[in-house]
Amino acid sequence: MSEATVPKLELGRVGESLPRVDGIPKVTGEFAYSSDLQAAGMLWGHTVRSPHAHARVGTIDISAAVGMPGVHAVLTHEDIPGEKRYGLEFQDQPVLAYERVRYFGEPVALVAAEHPEQARRAAERIRVEYEPLEPLVDPERATEAEPLHPDRPTMGHGYRDDPRPNIVRSLVIRQGDPAAEGDVAVSGVYEIGIQDQAFLGPESGLAVPDGEGGVDVYVATQWLHVDRDQVAPCLNLKPEQVRIHLAGVGGAFGGREDLSMQIHGALLALHTNRPVKIVYNREESFVGHIHRHPAKIWAEHRASRDGRLVNVRVRILLDGGAYASSSTAVTSNAASFAVGPYAVDNALIESTCVYTNNPPCGAMRGFGAVQVCFAHEAQMDKLAEALDIDPIELRLLNALGPGGSLPTGQTITGTLPVADVIRRAAALDVPEAEELPRDPMRLPGGSGNTTRGEGVRRGVGFAVGFKNIGYSEGFDDYTAARVQLHADGSATVHCAAAEVGQGVANVILQVARTELGVRDVALAPHTTATVDSAGSASASRMTWMVSGAVRDACRAALEEWDKKGRSLEVDVERIYRHPRTTPLDPETGQVTGERAHVAYACAAMRVVAEVDVELGLTRVVWIGTAQDVGHAVNPQAVQGQIEGGTAQGLGLALMEEIQTRDGLITNASFTDYLIPTTLDMPPVVSELIEEAEPDAPYGVKGVGEPPTVVSTPAVVAALRAATGRELSRVPVRPDDIVGL
């Protein structure tokens, strides 16, 4: 651990490593997660889900369930008082299925009972008439299949008008001369499996009727206000009648951007006039949220003899699954970052997301950049080999930086120290190989005791990646903060920013302490009831946005306080907006204003792995990284994000994949969906590159996603170096290493 992790506790200002305010309760088990909520007279809700990936829904007979002991409500789509569909960006997802189910596990009916067991038993007695339909599971054939959404919900929103069926969005970016030839060309086809957020706290929450027709929902989520705006219309209520309160979040990673139990719990609570709690079990959680888009990427890189990229041509196919979720933005991100943080004059990028009957996909840490980074970094290594240039040299030669531009034509106006992160990561000392014999725990296979050194080869890999910070393409994104100064000199901050484990509670407190110059700052509960929206805890945006909003509200409060003679109570709310973005041109994919993305952050990573090439097992030995963080509000928290984000990318590289058969998930458990353990994940040496972002408050940048983007390709590069195999698909399976 570096000295940055030693807490300095004078005041807890911006720039200090302040221990997490929720840290001790979490490690001692005292922290209340959303699944721990209780209310007097509470009922338990249960969701009846489709066993089919695609079927016509006939009659739903609830009669046998209704009179069962303890049962208070059994609801179907007929009981929804308002809108029957909802969605994060497009209203294409039924609250409860009617006419058709489009994915395995789609909600069909709801039960509320005194005891969860009673609810489950009643659910078993509900008879749903299904007429199974051929599931559309091959994304490469989606555009020739019958449309799953004949009303084309994502069309007519300013995107390219693609007449083919089952298109969620297609985007073409054309820059320069897409036919330009180089001296050397390399190509490859890359595949990324379905990764899950695998948060440990399953979807859960408590809905409490307010006795006046409205409802309070306590839930683990990522954006309180957008939940409210989706819940209220389905209940036929005014937004103020629905109050969303943040309950303890057990991990999110994008998987809580879409709704889970919010509308269902509220429907049951209003119907029974009792508080209703819903907690998904692990299996249900795997079907109860969206996943990272699986992708297939065809790439061709053309370069001059001296190593400069001349032309990059990439085709990306993303499987969006049954509903749109945030797929349109993922499609655009994948296209924007397809080349990687490199300068190139000519590019042709086509990114398409299709509907299928596979599990729905949406937001996950890295959001479109993860998939393409795996491809472009493999391509850069191939190119280095074809040109016989050192792979790090090749990256430096092509590194993008301020003043350079993306294939969308957007000029980098803020900081983007790509060459710096490359140099700093490359300069980190790689440890010597440990001697043999050694404890098998420190060899590939770990506790499995499979080798004493036989078959083990060592490889070192390197990768660079980048991603945008904030919402893009003209979205009016803002964050509100409200500050109260009290007569005793203390302050309270209200902000609806979701603390999802990333440490935003500390950020809010640190900014307030910095601006107000007092230590005694309280953070009010995160809720829609007392303050305007904070926007989403996603897109690496929250630190930046919250810093701006809290700073502005604190400064306004101090001004007010001065005006009022420094004695009265002050209460002000301010809204912060980042620089405006504009959409991409639907035909050329070029920017229509100064920027389509707000800003960027990059990272470079070096990985040492040992691979048992005979058994295909891996031990990642060492990871070193340099990351562009703007200005670290809380260096210890930044390092935590780097370590966690790296582990998540390592998981995708080596083991994490949702498997399906005919659209049905076959490994919906932590027995078979594996995430890295402490024996799989080495310590991470991280260098924070602090170059203040000019557009951001205090020069901060989001830090949560770049490590996830860059670690998957860096780990696989180390595996390629150790094995000499192409390894063009993640997660890499033992079979791929062995060559079966």
Binding site: S447, G448, E454, R619, D672, D735
Partner: protein
């Protein structure tokens, strides 16, 4: 659901005879998963944790007696770990520390999973399972005890008392392959013992853990023979061809370890 807690073996056997529908529970690391996932709703549980006769281990005429209540954590401790090194290595691969503290050999036999990690080391050590009921005791060699995936020969009034194993202090080892370095269900596993002859037993490569034997002169062909004895399938954890391949590699490495 009733929870019956006998205080002696005699009581346990009587209760099992009276309530054949009562599911025995030792560490509960399999039983509680079934209950929590709503896959089983037994009318009663027979809690064996207070039956002292089922606990611990002892030496008996050159063999070792393992009570059905022996935990993995206990199997990893010396001197038992020195007497049965393959079992100790297998125990170390099971779950995390919590599971190893609770999970038992008897429970692994009760579950009789093709992936049960205690079973291959017991097979190569010639394990005999001792079973009892109010009707009396019987001894069943382990290969005959497991009759199919998650099926064993226990009658509804019977309990497992423990296993008797030989081969102590022989050269033996256990290996388990999984796509991560701890806490995995075996994609394939193997125990090997060299002691007068060659013995290998594999898990997760057929419907039941299976013993393969050969003479000491067959060292070179043994890896291939073990791989051929397997009847693996493709499933979410791995492919049949990988399992067969891995068995070949593991057997060769295990022989190298045991023949030095």
């Amino acid at each position: 659901m009733d929870v019956l807690t006998p205080r002696s073996l005699e009581q346990a056997l009587r209760l099992k005879a009276e309530r054949p529908d009562a599911v025995p529970i030792q560490g509960g690391t399999d039983v509680m998963v079934e209950l929590n996932f709503d896959r089983a709703r037994p009318a009663a549980l027979l809690n064996l944790n207070e039956v002292a006769e089922l606990r611990g281990w002892s030496r008996q005429n050159g063999r070792v007696w393992l009570g059905s209540g022996l935990t993995y954590a206990e199997a990893m401790e010396r001197p038992l770990a020195e007497a049965l090194p393959a079992l100790a290595e297998a125990a170390r691969t099971v779950g995390g520390p919590q599971i190893r503290n609770r999970g038992t050999i008897g429970g692994n036999l009760g579950t009789a999973s093709p992936a049960g990690d205690a079973l291959p080391p017991l097979l190569v050590c010639g394990a005999e399972v001792k079973i009892a009921s109010v009707r009396g005791e019987r001894i069943v060699p382990l290969p005959d005890f497991v009759v199919g995936p998650k099926r064993n020969v226990l009658a509804e009034d019977e309990l497992i008392l423990g296993v008797s194993v030989g081969g102590t202090e022989s050269r033996q080892t256990f290996m388990k392959v999984g796509p991560r370095n701890a806490m995995v269900i075996a994609v394939v596993s193997l125990a090997v013992r060299v002691d007068g002859d060659l013995r290998a037993a594999f898990g997760s490569a057929g419907p039941v853990p299976t013993l393969v034997r050969a003479g000491l002169g067959d060292v070179d062909s043994f890896p291939q023979r073990v791989a051929e004895a397997a009847s693996p399938i493709d499933d979410v954890r791995g492919t049949a061809s990988y399992r067969r391949h891995a068995l070949r590699i593991l057997t060769r490495r295990a022989l190298d370890r045991c023949l030095v």
